[in-house]
């Protein structure tokens, strides 16, 4: 199982902030899975400026995922 975390407006779109799900093999597979469940969220995740972090590190490319990874999706930051 892996943890998925949504930040900012993504959590309003999805209606949840944190979930555990069965680990897909890659980040792109996770995006596909989330899109199939909730197309509005899936589109938001693909939107401009939305970044993904694996275990609190931003990932620019698609990467392999492992069980117990924590994946976060971050919309453009508001700043402090």
């Amino acid at each position: 199982m892996m943890k998925v975390v949504l930040l900012g407006r993504l959590r309003d779109i999805a209606g949840w902030r944190e979930r555990t799900i069965d680990a897909p093999a890659t980040l792109s597979a996770l995006r596909d899975l989330l899109y199939r469940e909730d197309a509005a969220l899936g589109e938001a995740l693909a939107g401009k400026g939305v970044q993904a972090a694996v275990n609190k590190t931003l990932m620019r490319e698609d990467v392999a995922l492992a069980a117990n990874d924590e994946i976060a999706f971050l919309p453009p930051m508001s700043g402090g």
């Binding site: 972090a53 976060a72 508001s78 402090g80």
Partner: protein
């Protein structure tokens, strides 16, 4: 040197007193307190809510602090940043710097605020009589942070 990201309200004056105590090696201490305003562009604000990503937000701010320290040669820095719901009049952020000469203290605080305002990993939602909206940095904030790369 310290960075605190917390949901608890804080008293900027008390933080300044603690930070300044016994600091006879510093010539100047500069503080910035960012306060939740009751109006933004004319719209009433009843609450501000800042979303942080614990474990990700702190290291990003610590990296800014390390850069400020290296760049301006300050003796000490404290950054306290709230997340969660914040009421108008409450402090959101407090940055304080100590340096031998005041120019370094001013520049480090100014620089840190410019970085924090544009790059700190927070997501901000304003709630008011007209509903809720997620906000992004103002154009002025982006212009402010550009000043430091021109140098």
């Amino acid at each position: 040197m310290a960075v605190r990201v917390q949901t608890e309200a804080f008293d900027a004056g008390r933080l300044l007193s603690e930070f300044s105590a016994g600091r006879a090696e510093a010539g100047g201490v500069v503080s910035f307190t960012g306060i939740c305003r009751d109006t933004t562009a004319g719209a009433g604000v009843t609450t501000l809510e800042l979303d942080a990503y614990p474990g990700f937000t702190e290291p990003a701010i610590e990296a800014m602090e390390a850069e400020a320290r290296a760049r301006f040669g300050v003796q000490d820095v404290l950054i306290v940043h709230r997340h969660g719901p914040i009421a108008p009049g409450e402090a959101i952020v407090f940055v304080v710097t100590a340096a031998e000469h005041r120019r370094a203290a001013f520049e480090a605080a100014d620089y840190l605020m410019d970085r924090l305002k544009t790059e700190a990993p927070f997501w901000k939602k304003e709630s008011g009589p007209d509903g809720q909206r997620w906000i992004e940095p103002r154009d002025g904030d982006y212009q402010d942070v550009k000043r430091w790369s021109a140098k």
